[in-house]
Amino acid sequence: MYELEVNGRIHQVDVDADTPLLWVLRDELGLTGTKYGCGVAACGACTIHIDGNPICSCVTPVSVGVGRRITTIEGLRSQIAAAVQAAWEELDVVQCGYCQSGQIMSAVALLEKKPRPDDADIDVAMGGNLCRCATYQRIRAAIHLAATRLAEPRA
């Protein structure tokens, strides 16, 4: 039995020790916004935050999450996250959408550490998130847009 804090709520899960967090979130907690894409940390579709850092949940065993703050796409609440999601919507970034939870989790983590990223920062921070529809140009633009909006003085 493991105790996990996910999106601010405490859950008890009875799973094997080697179960990746991805499958705890999806199969045990019904949080299906986090996606399976590769299982080997090569695509980023399963990106979540542990204590604010983006990680691939498909290769992270459940035990790693114990005692830490886990955030999934369903639990995004910050001002930065709202700005990122608004920018995504404004630019109609999504196509098939399957990778976009992971893209947004990585983008939010980037802006939390670096409020005004340049293109090279985006290449690095988003380099682990594949998009087969190749929405990359709009992802880049949406990150810049969110950064700009967040830098504006609040009315």
């Binding site: 799973v15 199969d27 916004g33 299982g39 919507e89 098939c96 959408g97 380099g127």
Partner: protein
């Protein structure tokens, strides 16, 4: 827990929709039907207007990213004069008579970039009909002439009296009226949504994680199934030992099915661990066991012999012999995996009365037939729920319904005692076949003394996609699969002597259509060869094409637009020390649309290269949603670039050598060039946008690489320093395994020992 979760999810979606905050997506479960308004007005199969004022558009095509859940509702909303915010979207059920693809005969399916084109009049008419009936209902209620009533932004109004009504207030009355005999469609000058651009209907749900993909479906009591597939195509399980599998907590059953051995469990991880512990002995006696280099050699041999004629004009052989200059070039294209981000999956519930399937459903007609054949049910007893697909690129329109049939076999094998979700892991998806076929091409052309093109001979060798499938009768004529030669048989360049012929060798590797299908290889060969001919004739690549395209105004239109916007003929900014830069162009028509692209590339000192900028011009007829057209050009370019830079599935003794994105890389953020899209203004009916950008980037890039380096690359993926003789078709290159083969780093072993 599952049932409760489903109920809650459905309710949440309905409430959101009702309050106008967000869009309802497809509600996949029967429980969800309860949440529809008690009374609604549904004048046809495509529109339903609720008393709560929502307008639900029933979309017959799969939303897999291309924007059809926005495009088709736009057509309805336009003619209905609805407010875009009141529009909801629902996926259509399987019903070929009602929801068939009007461009493809008696078939319900989503392919050929036809969604908008085939629906353009049908969905506008559906909206116009609903509007006429709402107006008639208002006219009756207010006792005024229908002609004096207007509709705008979802409000029906009678200006002289100042009376207004929302759609929902009129829905019940409209439902009692007879269908109008005839409705008029708007004059395009009066469009307020079409051509102006509305926001995507699926954005919010895909941004907040609530969008339901097949991967996310949970039914009460559902079991999760993974299948141990044989490592070779055509092999079968002889016997298996599941003792260790059954010992895994959560594993419920292990069953043999025709395509392998299925492990059923209460969750994915248990099924995965169970499958890892399964021992299967395979019967490979009928398996395909060739290496890809063997296949290339065989195909190259066929290049020396005439194939079946796909098109013949004039006297090609004689004209080639008589030409002042004669050029020949061979091209090689590997197998490609679709590798959509959502690996293949589907959910099946099977009982005595029928079979219900949840799937990113792309080919209803074929899937119903295939599942009917396996279950003994009638096709109409197969209920198909169409969910969002996390990409497809053709793979979910499986010509043999392979993964649906597999899931149904599993459900059958356990006697239908639980719903089954079949999941393929990434490795299953990558290694499971149904690839874009390998092709080898030879192009031969003659120029006269003035550099004019006098003869063109195009020979293509590769497996037929349609032969032996439901698509055969539609696509294969006189032994020529149109899907193998499209783009080549409709060569746009004026040439008096033309021959296109085809060899379609049969191999045991399952193949399938792949975004832009035949054009992905034919456009590469044609557009890079035209570039060679222009160079041979000492002419500018645009000027050379311009002369040959005099009778092709749409090609000329995009060519000139791309050239102008892409600074064609102007010097490129210099690269850093040791870098060489180049610009290339290509143009191609497919799926009714014409696309031209100008590519700028930088070749580094180590001969790696970076695509810097792509300027794309598209003529797709009327652009119903210009922003989605731009998105499809951007994405189509990125997808085509991924194939051009990385895409390659290889076989060693029949075993697929790629496992995951680690061996089959796809385009990443840092490789995506800056893309600028320019849309030709057009009043012609809309044509496809999902596929036409994809085949153009490869040849435009190869031409740019030539401009930078002076070298012609004719093998995909594009690499410098890959001489044909050294090209083993194997990832990595080290110790020879056997003659012609090379050993790669990763031991090639079956996925299941």
């Amino acid at each position: 827990m599952s049932a409760a979760w489903i109920e809650n999810a459905s309710r949440r979606r309905f409430l959101k929709a009702g309050s106008g905050l967000a869009l309802a997506i497809y509600l996949p479960l029967n429980a969800a039907a309860k949440t529809q308004p008690e009374r609604s007005f549904a004048p046809n199969a495509f529109v339903r207007i609720g008393e709560d004022d929502t307008v639900t558009v029933i979309v017959k095509h799969l939303e897999m990213g291309q924007g059809t859940y926005t495009g088709l509702p736009t057509l309805v909303a336009e003619e209905l004069d609805a407010d875009w915010a009141q529009i909801r979207v629902e996926g259509a059920p399987a019903n070929t008579a009602l929801h068939g693809n009007l461009l493809l005969g008696k078939i319900q399916g989503t392919f050929g970039s036809t969604s908008l084109a085939n629906s353009f009049e049908q969905f506008r008419r559906a909206g116009a009909t609903a509007r006429a009936m709402l107006v008639a209902a208002a006219a009756e209620r207010w006792q005024v002439p229908a002609a004096s009533i207007g509709v705008a932004g979802g409000v029906v109004s009678h200006a002289p009296s100042g009376r207004t009504a929302r759609f929902g207030e009129l829905a019940a009355a409209a439902a009692e009226l007879p269908l109008p005999n005839k409705v008029d469609l708007k004059n395009p000058a009066d469009f307020v949504l079409i051509g102006k651009g509305v926001k995507r209907k699926d954005s919010r749900a895909k941004i907040d994680g609530s969008a339901q993909f097949t991967q996310d479906v949970r039914l009460p009591g559902m079991l999760l199934a993974l299948v141990a597939h044989p490592p070779w195509f055509g092999a079968r399980a002889k016997r298996f030992d599941a003792e260790k599998t059954r010992a895994v907590r959560g594993v419920v059953d292990v069953v043999a099915i025709p395509s392998g051995v299925a492990v059923l469990a209460t969750n994915f991880w248990a099924a995965k661990k169970g499958r890892d512990r399964l021992k299967v002995e395979w019967d490979a006696s009928a398996a395909f066991g060739q290496c890809t280099h063997d296949i290339v050699d065989e195909f190259r041999g066929l290049l020396e012999q005439p194939g079946r004629i796909a098109r013949s004009e004039g006297e090609c052989a004689a004209a080639l012999d008589a030409a002042a200059h004669r050029l020949v070039a061979d091209f090689e294209f590997p197998y490609l995996a679709h590798a959509a981000m959502e690996p293949l999956n589907c959910v099946v519930r099977l009982d005595a009365n029928g079979c219900e399937i949840w799937n990113g459903e792309q080919f209803q007609t074929a899937d119903q037939m295939a599942v009917a054949a396996v279950t003994g049910l009638a096709p109409e007893q197969i209920k198909l729920n169409m969910l969002y697909a996390g990409g497809s690129f053709g793979r979910r329109a499986s010509s043999k319904a392979d993964y649906l049939v597999e899931a149904v076999h599993i459900a059958k094998a356990i006697g239908g005692r639980a719903p089954v979700k079949l999941m393929w892991t990434r490795e299953d998806d990558m290694r499971g076949g149904y690839y874009r076929p390998m092709y080898v091409h030879r192009l031969e052309a003659g120029l006269d003394r003035d550099g004019a093109l006098v003869a063109w001979q195009h020979r293509i060798v590769g497996q037929s996609i349609a032969a032996g499938t439901v698509a055969e009768s539609l696509m294969v004529r006189d032994g020529v699969d149109r899907l193998s030669v499209e783009g080549a048989i409709d060569l746009p360049y004026a040439v008096p002597n033309l021959r296109v012929d085809l060899h379609s060798p049969q191999l045991g590797v399952p193949v399938l259509w792949f975004r832009s299908v035949g054009s992905l290889h034919t456009a590469f060969a044609i557009e890079t060869f035209i570039d060679e001919l222009a160079a041979k004739a000492s002419q500018d690549a645009v000027a050379f094409r311009r002369r040959l395209l005099a009778q092709q105004p749409r090609h000329l239109g995009v060519l000139e637009l791309a050239a102008a916007k892409g600074d064609w003929g102007r010097p490129l900014a210099r690269g850093a020390k040791g870098e060489r830069r180049g610009r290339g162009i290509a143009v191609h028509q497919c799926f009714g649309s014409v696309v031209a692209q100008v590519v700028e590339v930088t070749v580094r000192a180590d001969r790696s290269f970076k695509v810097d900028r792509v300027v794309c011009a598209v003529d797709c007829g009327l652009a119903v949603n210009p922003d989605i057209v731009r998105a499809q050009m951007e994405g189509g370019i990125g997808f085509g670039l991924s194939a051009a830079l990385h895409g390659r599935i290889t076989l060693r003794e029949g075993i697929v050598e790629q496992f995951n994105f680690t061996e089959y890389p796809i385009l990443r953020m840092n490789e995506m060039p800056r893309v600028e899209v320019h849309i030709v203004a057009s009043a012609a009916p809309p044509s496809g946008v999902g596929e036409p950008a994809t085949p153009v980037i490869g040849p435009a890039l190869a031409n740019a690489l030539f401009a930078a380096s002076g070298e012609r690359l004719r093998q995909l993926p594009l690499r410098f320093d890959q001489a044909p003789s050294a090209w083993g078709w194997h990832a990595g290159a080290a110790t020879p395994l056997h003659e012609g083969c090379t050993q790669e780093d990763r031991p090639c072993s079956p996925s299941v020992a």
